[in-house]
Assembly symmetry: C2
Homo-oligomer: 280 residues x 2
């Protein structure tokens, strides 16, 4: 285990803000200290994909297989910025995959339970049959950059461009279709590796902002990311859709492609719409 | 905890075979003895949705909230029929939800790690906006019943009817599109409650049988089910699709509707195609 950890230690003074914000320090054999950075907040609460990325950060230190293939996260209570402890457990190391779990605590309150299967995206071998395609959307320079006064602090960590069509909710004209599309990159140019995809799949505005009032709060109950290919550098094209908002609960399905239209990740979350000011 | 357990004890001599096959007996405060029934095998291995249902069976005994809203399962090693122990852990009981975990062991080998958020489908309250629809398919009596010599033992637990189109792989004429559609009910008439949906979402033949040789083995790596509505009695209409089979790894996305076209569950799994006899 120590070999694995040594090999993967985050470089001191990591060059990119994502790596600094998800950095963990070992304080005991399976306990890691993290600092939840308020720069990744939506309102008062840290983004769920960011919290999952902290847990993945700790698991990367203990898994002999490098890449998160499937990451499942449940959020039993609401986290807040500040110190946190991550407890890791390697459940089974197999020939091609490692299964492991991480739990994130703040003052003994459990915030997150993440189970993951790690593998090596460089070693995959088998048939390929693809029918899904990246939709034709305007290039990043013709999309609408999410920024300015109303954007959550979290959004500033990215260069996030919504298609003009799906951005209209921001000016009070929701499309009526629960979909967000566009492009994303880390604001400071960090490459979108498998770890980065875990936060990117939770980075777009909620799909339901195009069918409900955008002031709703949409906390995540369960969040799964499947990383399917090693991403290349550059913009990631994203589409998030919701087909079933039922009694306040919704799925949000994400697809992420490289700029050449190759799928790199699929995500799904179960979330809940909370409209503190009354009905939608 | 004991109150919860007492209230939910499975009736002795449960009327339906699913309930008997997922029954668990408490042997210690958080340990449950199960018997993995070979009647739910695909070849030599128990079906993954069946194994997840055993774990859910134990969690139902400890969760004050009755229904599995979101169930995430990883399969670190391959189970076999016979005795198993399930260790449950209630992670957090909230006002509207309980988060809990179950692990299934055989002879100290861990087979399954399941994390779940339970709630009460009868208490949901919020907006509904639905754009997904159940596709028009032939009624069950015009579909093809999966049975006979080549069907796995597992399939006999259901009345499973594939649409004539998506059943053609079984006579050597795969459609070339990774999709399975049709109807399902428990063979003995058991109602499809939220617990039953956890196995039904893994019950259809692999989608890739319509694009690859049907002798492939398609073990599940990660499996998530979201139960979205209390199902009504009667046939469930199902659609399973795969858009991205990449280097032998695929997602299988499931939708389950009541007979009146109301969505009751969504599922997704990451699986791997193994073709023991060579390439596809």
């Amino acid at each position: 285990m120590d070999d694995v950890d040594t090999a993967r230690d985050a470089p001191p003074g990591a060059a990119y803000e994502f790596d600094r914000a998800v950095a963990v320090d070992r304080t005991a054999p399976e306990i890691w200290r993290a600092e939840i950075d308020p720069g990744w907040n939506i309102g008062d609460a840290p983004n769920g994909g960011y919290l999952a990325s902290i847990a993945v950060s700790a698991l990367r230190r203990v898994s002999p297989h490098p890449h998160p293939f499937a990451v499942s996260t449940h959020f039993p209570s609401r986290a807040r910025p500040g110190p946190a402890d991550v407890r890791t457990e390697v459940i089974r190391i197999g020939r091609t995959q490692t299964m492991a779990e991480a739990r994130l605590f703040q003052s003994d309150e459990i915030r997150l339970v993440l189970t993951a299967t790690f593998g090596d995206l460089g070693s995959l071998d088998g048939p390929t049959v693809v029918s899904g395609t990246a939709p034709a959307i305007p290039p990043p320079e013709q999309c609408v950059k999410a920024e300015g006064g109303i954007a959550p602090e979290f959004v500033k960590r990215f260069d996030l461009r919504l298609t003009p069509e799906t951005a209209m909710w921001a000016v009070g004209q929701p499309t009526g279709e629960a979909r967000m599309e566009g492009w994303i990159a880390f604001a400071d140019g960090r490459p979108a590796d498998p770890h980065g995809l875990v936060v990117m799949c939770d980075a777009f505005p909620p799909t339901v902002f195009n069918v409900l009032r955008s002031r709703s709060w949409v906390p995540t109950i369960e969040y799964t990311v499947h990383v399917r290919r090693m991403p290349e550098d550059g913009w990631k094209q994203c589409r998030f859709t919701t087909r079933y908002l039922i009694d306040g609960y919704l799925e949000e399905d994400g697809e992420v492609w490289d700029t050449d239209g190759r799928l790199v990740a699929l995500s799904r979350q179960l979330a809940r719409v909370l409209t503190p000011e009354g009905g939608p």
